[in-house]
């Protein structure tokens, strides 16, 4: 996540960014990870059953990390997730003509912000803001 924020800080003057919150990957009532337990990262939620629950978790996330990127939440029919085969996490770049220019792999193993940075660097040159 830190990588994505840094890419955003470096390239937000040149490209647009949108984070899309989709169904939870490791909720309490499904496949909870040890690293999410209360005595560790304390990220304990059940899978949202209503849009209100989904919105609440998305707000917890953005507030806890002071997450600066523009944000949208997938509807409960998982339309965005289904259209982009996004679960559990995935990166895309859509070009100015509205076409897919980059499609990243499924997370966690094939989720690679470095590929997004390379795409942006090829288009706009290497940008790294000091302190970001």
């Amino acid at each position: 996540m830190g990588d994505v924020i840094q890419i955003y800080n470096d390239y937000k003057d040149r490209a647009d960014f949108l984070t899309i919150y989709i169904r939870e990957a490791h909720p309490l009532d499904e496949w909870q990870m040890k690293s999410n337990e209360k005595d560790k990262d304390n990220v304990c939620y059940v899978q949202p059953k209503t849009l209100e629950q989904r919105i609440n978790i998305a707000n917890d996330f953005t507030q806890r990390f002071k997450f600066p990127l523009p944000f949208g939440v997938d509807e409960m029919n998982d339309a965005a997730n289904n259209a982009y085969a996004a679960w559990p996490e995935r990166l895309y770049i859509i070009d100015e003509t509205g076409r897919i220019s980059y499609k990243g792999g499924n997370g966690p193993f094939k989720y690679d912000p470095k590929e997004v940075r390379a795409w942006l660097a090829q288009r706009y040159g290497d940008v790294t803001h000091a302190g970001s």
């Binding site: 965005a80 982009y84 996490e89």
Partner: protein, 88 residues
Amino acid sequence: MKRWLIWTSISVGSLLIIGFVGLSFMAGSPKDALAMVRFALPHMHVGNLKPGDSAPDVRLVALDGKTRFRLHERTQQRPLVLIFGSFT
């Protein structure tokens, strides 16, 4: 014939055990391996989209829980980086 059947069963059984052990190792534990099969694999898809395809337009909800906007409203003059994910 009977001997062939026994050896086939042993081979298939061994492959299943090796597969489950491998999955347990990858996921962290046998419990995680079962959870992965039950809760993760059904939701994980490669998807049909490929570079060059039109980006599907979808309706999203803003953090206020009320405002709706369309993805295509954000694809205007500049490239749009999409980051899909969740909290957990």
